[in-house]
Symmetry: C2
Subunit: 557 residues, 2 copies
């Protein structure tokens, strides 16, 4: 009979435990969990804070009792693993209620300790809440009850979700983020709709700013958060959500190898440097799906997958951990933002050549009521047409398009292949030319040399170098949402007014890029040197709005 | 200068025309369209009937004037192509307003005539409406104004959409369908939620029934539709929607080759048997994505794709028409039904081995409000694990899952590969184990021999052969929704009550298949011969409900 001990009873750990039972009815399976709960809905925590998930009990998907009954798993909550005696294959576990230690023997040990919130080292930070488990949630809910103002430190997934849910509670929220934008997986011109939605909902975004000190409030008074721009923000509640770090203390103390990113090092069987010890989930380093580099990807679905793989390996089956693309999504005040693969920031840093495509399709056919505009971005290897990454932002249909692109990446389809995908079309759900198909067509047009595009951040340079910018939208659109310096000739008038265009290189733009493409094809065939502003006015406006924020941030307050 | 004439100004024809202009600024491009409109939203027609799309003008995406201005295309509406003189490369075109004929010369001719509604040959059918173009819609809307009862003949896409929209207008609808089910792309156990939704909305479904005669009503009185079951249904309005047939009269008269299915025969450059004549869209035979057989797939997205390909070919570029999977979706009274690839009916007819998987996941995490149950079905080649087809039915998230599976099929991922897809997870959008991942896991469990499943229609045979059926749900579920003949031992009690099980083969079932799987693993490891009822009670109940309909249909009225 195999003795298996699993440290950590959420996501990866519990997936491993239940899968192991299904594979081996005889094994002894013990799960040790430091908090008071196992298998809770980690990703749902912020939504109970805001009352979206009304009942706290909804978050508790399993209990020690239910797991014992169905899977004969010995689940010990409020037990902390203190040390691993690798030579004798024993774990010392402390019962946090009694402070008594017991020793658990193992044939195989699985570490699934997760990641812990990073807390900035600033004076007064001890008043800050973090949100990792049910106990954290209970404390946060209790503190939020009396708070009128809150400061959320950090604009990642947890930060924006907590900010939204505090607003739902009627709390005035200031979100402080050290970079120029929330949601780092998105490039700056893609994140603007998220910023807009948060501001519209009343969140004060302090971007490019950090908290330098928190003064505890007098009894009955809020704390005071001092920001790097000199402001002081009252905060009955402070939440630290600047990120997470692999929980490696137990592994490190046991002498298990850590990787370059600070996570537990595992091979593709999820074995650590000790063949009897395995590790899964947010605590381990994963292999990147594009370049096989070591990455930290703290996602629940990845953790669950690894839990299954490690169970297979322990049960003597073939089990291979896969590289990760890191597909992720967040919704804030009705705006969904999703990403897969690499973003442009990362490609630039890595010096990897890339082709960029921006589109602004409707979530479904424009003639059917309720279509919402979305922004899509595709990043492509210009040499091989490999899809390197994608981003999508909007109020509807965003998750679907990112899932389709993620699946295409898994299937090694090229960007051009997206044009040929057969996606389910009825006017409620998409378009006869689906947004994903359109990405493929735009990619082919660029790859085939039918059109040369210019990115939003390249426009100033092109104009400085002498290009003429032609707005091919209607005079009304031109008047209401102008790009400075553009002359206006609507695309439908272009053939008749070719003579009006000055000599030299041209840049055309429209609202989203489509009329610009038609205009660019026309002008190119008339012998003109022309580039189309990729994503049109909308991408340019979003990108330059972000730039202005960044400049404000750089300027004295 | 190349002279191009295109017959048919919707979908494929107009995609070809605009793409040709983008590729060739000099070509002469003429589009001939029999109806009064080009580029109208074909798939939106039923929704204007019901007022969902309020303005008729929303359906008119382009006009001859807009196409002339932007693309310099000579669009002639209310012109009918009468004959092709292939030897001299001329088309005779009649102006339907003046009855005058003109001859148009061509270097390349593109036929995009679409498909026409099939009208059953029964007495009195001349009163029936069909719905193909804006003129049909106008007639239908005018007639619907005074109708209180309608008979819709045919339960395909158009039939169910027209039925729904007539209900929206307050018309009492009887839908008459000759087979036992609406929506033939779905297998019978998958279509039941569609039947349920239609019946709940007040549609009288006459399945397994046909219309044998229509007696015209007296002035001011409705017509009377006589059905094959002896009933006579009053109908102020009759709509014939039993299907469509490729429009081939012009092609056939010109001596162009037709295929085995009655569509225009084209090669993978979309050339007909005459190298100067091309054809696209619903009128042509396509190649099936699974077995390359000749198929008719009348879908707007396929037509658009072919329009682009044919433009590339005519412009001298490489252009290759792709085989089709036929991904399709319909929504009726809030229930979406989607399918891709082959269904089980077709696999059986073809004698092709297949593995079947049914699941009933939530559209998103159950702990987050608003999750809707859906039914999924996956069809897999048991030898290669190739995905042969999929179906999905439910109120939310159905389109996304079918699009993901369709993309996986395009990327030649296996069914097992679905388990590893990284899909965007936040609780509003999916689950950490997404429904598509679950399909992959179930597939692997069956492929690996971890569980043997039994299909809903195999249960009676298994019980007759002596198997014992064990319901592993709770006593309450067992009492409320029983499968006849089952004994009830909840999965959580199973280990303690193994002795109660009689000798011999066992079949276990639960509500959706998941607890049954856990029970089957447990029992198999205790040495029992056991099969899990695939899809659990829900699939069995849906399948047998459909069977009962079929039996009623077979019985005397």
């Amino acid at each position: 009979m195999q003795k298996i001990v699993i440290i950590g009873g959420v996501a990866g750990g519990m997936s491993a435990a239940t899968r192991l039972r299904r594979l081996d009815e005889e094994a002894s399976i013990t799960v040790v969990e430091r908090s008071g709960h196992v298998s809770f809905a980690n990703c749902g925590l912020p939504y109970h804070l805001g009352g979206v998930i009304e009942k706290r009990s909804s978050l508790l998907l399993q209990t020690p009792e239910s797991l014992a009954a169905r899977f004969a798993i010995d689940v010990r909550v409020r037990h902390e693993a203190r040390a691993i005696d690798r030579a004798n294959r024993r774990v010392t576990v402390r019962d946090l209620a009694t402070d008594e230690d017991v020793e658990l023997e193992y044939d195989a040990l699985v570490l699934s300790p997760g990641a812990r919130p990073v807390v900035p080292r600033i004076p007064g930070i001890s008043v800050a809440h973090t949100l990792r488990d049910i106990e954290d949630l209970d404390h946060l809910v209790a503190s939020a009850r009396d708070a009128r103002e809150a400061v959320v430190v950090g604009g990642g997934f947890i930060g924006v979700e907590v900010a939204e849910n505090l607003v739902h509670r009627g709390v005035a929220v200031t979100l402080v983020e050290a970079t120029d934008q929330v949601m780092a997986p998105l490039d700056p011109e893609m994140v603007e709709p998220v910023h807009d939605a948060m501001r519209a909902a009343g969140v004060r975004l302090a971007l490019g700013v950090s908290v330098v000190r928190i003064d505890p409030g007098e009894p009955g008074e809020p704390h005071l958060a001092h920001l790097s721009d000199g402001r002081a923000v009252p905060a009955g509640l402070v939440v630290a959500a600047i990120g997470v770090r692999p929980e490696t203390s137990l592994a490190a103390a046991a002498g298990l190898a850590l990787g370059e990113r600070g996570g537990i090092l595992v091979d593709d069987s999820l074995r650590t440097s000790d063949p009897a010890v395995f590790a899964v989930g947010d605590a381990v380093e994963k292999r990147d799906g594009l370049d096989a580099s070591s990455v930290l990807v703290p996602l629940a679905n990845t953790a669950n997958r690894q839990g299954r793989v490690v169970a297979d390996v322990i049960a003597g089956r073939p089990g291979v951990d896969r590289p990760v693309l890191g597909t992720a999504i967040v919704e804030v005040f009705g705006v969904a933002a999703a990403a897969v693969g690499w973003n442009e920031k990362r490609l630039r840093e890595a010096g990897r050549p890339h082709r960029v495509i921006h589109t602004h399709p409707g979530s479904h056919a424009g003639y059917y009521p309720g279509a919402e505009a979305m922004a899509l971005k595709l990043l492509v290897d210009p040499g091989t047409d490999e899809i390197l990454g994608a981003q999508a932002v909007g109020r509807d249909g965003v998750d679907k398009r990112i899932d389709v692109v993620a699946t295409a990446m898994a299937g090694r389809l090229t960007a051009g292949d997206l044009a040929d995908l057969e996606l389910a079309y009825a006017p409620q759900f998409g378009s006869a030319k689906d947004p994903v198909n359109m990405l493929g067509w735009v990619d082919r047009a660029v790859a085939d040399g039918d059109v040369e595009t210019l990115q939003w951040h390249e426009l100033d340079g092109a104009l400085a170098a002498g290009a003429t910018l032609v707005d091919v939208r209607s005079p009304r659109e031109h008047a209401v949402r102008p790009v400075p310096g553009a002359v206006n000739i609507p695309v439908d008038d272009l053939r008749a007014r070719l003579e009006e265009l000055p000599d030299g290189p041209l840049v055309v733009h429209c609202e989203v890029g489509l009329r610009g493409y038609v205009a660019a094809r026309l002008l190119a065939q008339h012998g003109r040197s022309v580039r189309n502003l990729d994503g049109g006015y909308r991408t340019w406006a979003a990108g330059t709005a972000g730039q202005r924020t960044a400049e404000r941030v750089g300027a004295p307050a």
